[in-house]
């Protein structure tokens, strides 16, 4: 009986510790680089090409759209970027 109680408490303890440890882990700091800056640097390296720019804009729109189930669910701020 005592053994069962001990094992039970140990199991509860372990289950509790695991999420707590996960919470404690520091989130990886992202380097402070904005997407706009990456884009500026990228485009600085090319002769102007409207097709290439158009493709980047299409890809960005696609990336935003894929985050939401419908147009109605999309925040106006994101909708404006399309």
């Amino acid at each position: 009986m005592r053994k069962t109680l001990f094992l039970g408490l140990l199991a509860i303890g372990l289950v509790g510790i695991s999420p707590a440890q996960q919470k404690k882990q520091p989130t990886k700091k992202k380097a402070g680089v904005k997407p706009e800056e990456v884009r500026r640097v990228l485009l600085s390296g090319f002769e102007q090409d409207p097709k290439f720019l158009w493709k980047i804009e299409q890809d960005e729109s696609q990336r935003i759209c894929s985050q939401y189930p419908s147009m109605e669910a999309m925040p106006p701020r994101q909708y404006k970027r399309l």
Binding site: V33, V38, L42, G45, F46, F52, K55, D59
Partner: protein
């Protein structure tokens, strides 16, 4: 008589056209198998004997370095000091207020001390692009300055916030799928699985030490073109192959990629010039 003359003229023109077509066709043809075998044998011989024709450019570069007043140029170790300069580049230069890699710095110094305009610098830097057996002064200068760092270990200061920022941007661009074919640098140069283009084994940024082995030998002498290839020319060629737009040397894009690649290669010994097919 007039009919004979007219017939002769028509036949003459047709024959000239045929000869012209044959000439163009011959120019368009790739190397014959015999010629290709001869080049491979020549390459193997050079490799075996330790001869690297790229070193000829360094000799030429020594003179060009002085000719264009680059002895006034500070590569980060003081004006005119080039020993070990490549090893600590890219770095932030307060005088130019931007992070620069070796070639970008040379371009900037050509404007400052040789009186070139940005357009002239671009023309100077790209004079051998798309050619073969080209003895360009720019390539020679890059080779000369790079060879002065032989034996030094790459040591890009990633603690500098400006350099770190460029490193991060370079990394993001390296993995950004762009262009009509959605290619990125990582399409060929990432992953654990070994990739090849024809017989050439491709290095991967994900396999330890390979980025270092790749960048530490640039500028690299290419036997098939009988001339060296600088890092910015390499970027331009990769981007052309990926069907990205025409690459601008000495741009922030070039610096970002260099910062990512050389930063990843920290600790690797520089051995310039490399040699390749």
């Amino acid at each position: 008589m007039r009919k004979i003359l007219l017939t002769s003229a028509v036949f003459g023109l047709a024959y000239a056209g045929f000869l012209g077509y044959q000439t163009v066709k011959a120019q368009d043809q790739e190397l014959s198998p015999e010629e290709e075998i001869r080049l491979v044998q020549e390459f193997n011989r050079m490799m075996a004997e330790g001869i690297n024709p790229g070193e000829i450019w360094a000799e030429m570069g020594k003179e060009a370095f002085k000719k264009y007043n680059l002895d006034k140029c500070d590569f980060g170790l003081g004006p005119g000091k080039i020993e070990g300069a490549l090893a600590q580049l890219p770095r932030y230069f307060p005088d130019a207020k931007r992070v620069m890699d070796l070639e970008t710095r040379i371009g900037w110094c050509l404007q400052q001390y040789a009186g070139m305009t940005p357009e002239q610098v671009k023309k100077f830097a790209t004079q051998c692009w798309g050619k073969s057996q080209c003895m360009g002064e720019y390539d020679a200068i890059v080779m000369y300055v790079s060879m002065a760092s032989n034996g030094h270990k790459i040591n890009v200061n990633l603690k500098d916030p400006q350099v770190k920022r460029m490193h991060e941007i370079g990394k993001q661009i390296y993995y950004a799928r762009l262009g009509p074919w959605d290619f990125n640098c990582a399409t060929c140069h990432a992953g654990q699985k070994e990739a090849r283009i024809r017989a050439t084994r491709l290095w991967s940024a994900d396999r330890p030490g390979e980025a270092g082995q790749a960048v530490s030998i640039f500028p690299k002498y290419l036997v098939r073109w009988a001339q060296p290839m600088t890092m910015h020319y390499r970027y331009a060629e990769c981007m052309r192959q990926m069907r990205w737009p025409t690459f601008e040397p000495h741009s922030d894009l070039a610096v970002a990629l260099s910062t990512f690649l050389y930063g990843t290669a920290n600790g690797t010994e520089i051995k310039v010039p490399g040699i390749g097919r």
